[in-house]
Amino acid sequence: MKKLNILAIETSTEACSVAVLTHRGLLFSEFELTPRQHTQFLPRMMDAVLVQAGLFKKDLSHIAYASGPGAFTGVRIAASTAQGISIGLDIPLVAISTLAILAQHCYHIHHTERVMAALDARMGEAYVGNYQLNNTSGLLELDGEETLVRLNQLRLPEHYFLAGSGFMACREAGCLVAPENIVDADLLPHASALVQLAEHAIKQGKTLTADQIQINYIRNKVAEKKKVASL
């Protein structure tokens, strides 16, 4: 079996990030704010983390990607890039929720054991998930379901830290009722958190092949069905 060397890519928001976790437990990552330029930065960043880690492409054992929710095209950039890499290197994929990545990253930055992660979904809505620390794994886990919620119907659970652009949208819509010290609305998902969640998922056998690609858009109604005109 190949030694565990995981490459992780995250492009679901205006940020683009890449990380690699080596079998020695070393983590290298790159992060850039690159609105609408993910495809431009991604290849360079993948090369960069591999050089930092001293790995060749053929040393990679898994390719992890942020599988949404988020910007539709952005989510597909990571997913389809991961598919290409998976087929080219003949390695499995690992799909990790963008909200889980955001929550985990929040834990790394703010040491918050309970995180409500929310991403701006536009049109007055946000993608939302509540995450709690599991002390055994040291990772935040989903409590309940990830959902699409109207900003003015967002219920803030007690003792949760609030992370992500969803709360920015809330603030702008004037419906955020929370003290500033429990909010980080600027926080973006980061591939360093993705790669750690991926390592755990791999140990639990949660891997995919390229033809099993998983994307969780959450918002699935994207067009109105029309009646065929008739005379």
Binding site: T39, Q40, L42, P43, M46, K57, F72, T73, R76, I77, A79, S80, T81, A82, Q83, G84, I85, I87, G88, L89, D90, T209, A210, D211, I213, I215, Y217, V222, A223, E224, K225, K226, K227, V228, A229, S230, L231
Partner: protein, 338 residues
Amino acid sequence: MKVLGLESSCDETGIAIYEVETGVIQQRLYSQIECHREYGGVVPELASRDHVVKAAPMIIDLLQQNGGVHSLDGIVYTRGPGLMGALMVGACIARALAWALDKPVLGVHHMEGHLLAPMLSEDKPEFPFVALLVSGGHTMLVDVEAVGEYKILGESLDDAVGEAFDKTAKLLGLPYPGGPELAQLASTVSATDLVFPRPMVDRPGLDFSFSGLKTFALNTMHKLTPLSDQNRAEIAFAFEQAVVDTLQIKCQRALKQTGYRRLVVAGGVGANRTLRKRLQQMSAKLQTRVYFPALEYCTDNGAMIAYAGGLRMAAGQRDENVTDVLPRWSLETLQRLN
């Protein structure tokens, strides 16, 4: 040189492997028509969602049957024109595959794929030729001097022919995409008193305009309401005759203007039998020749992309650091291949 080609510019996911030296081509095609039917047209976001699910299984299957991923010398894909999000899926898979394999990659112009599709037949046209590109998104006459040396002689100022077929079919209550259905309905009659205009044939030049025909069809329907099945069939017939006449007149003009003796018809509407027959008759009269791609290469497909890309790659062309897709991209900006 053996290349993998990916096409995802609109609502067909096409994957092909082309070996330049032997000319052997293998392809897989998935059409999303069913997925868009209930919306009455292509929904770009749904098209993108479907590509990301459908492309990989076809790539894996095709590679398994054809020597595996390491037998590839390069990857080519449709870089444009087309739907942004849909193009992005094919482009990302292709570039990531090339990155993983350390193999060259090249973005292909979708319309060049269509233009060169007749080259996949036994009986290939020689250069130069006039190409009539007629699809759901495009209508143009192109002067093809060589691979990559294209001059647009004329194009549609409004609806593409396929679009006009589809919209008129929709008015007639036919399911999406109505082009073939309308043609089928038209074939049930052989004459009518209805006369549709032949747009822009009385004016010099090689541009087209088809949106007026659809309006004319609508007005005719209002006049005849309530419509009998016979009325519907006659409207379909008269519409098709008007389109085919117009296309034929312009093709004849383009052959005369260029002095070329070969006409190549490409794109989905190239499947239309009435058009095929009419252009055959014209060619017999003018002592020119007309070439049609095999039906499977008429509509969007991966084979034509693998072919066009394979030719270019075999000639040494590569993309260095291309990271975008081009939803709008003029044929005339392409590099000539020598």
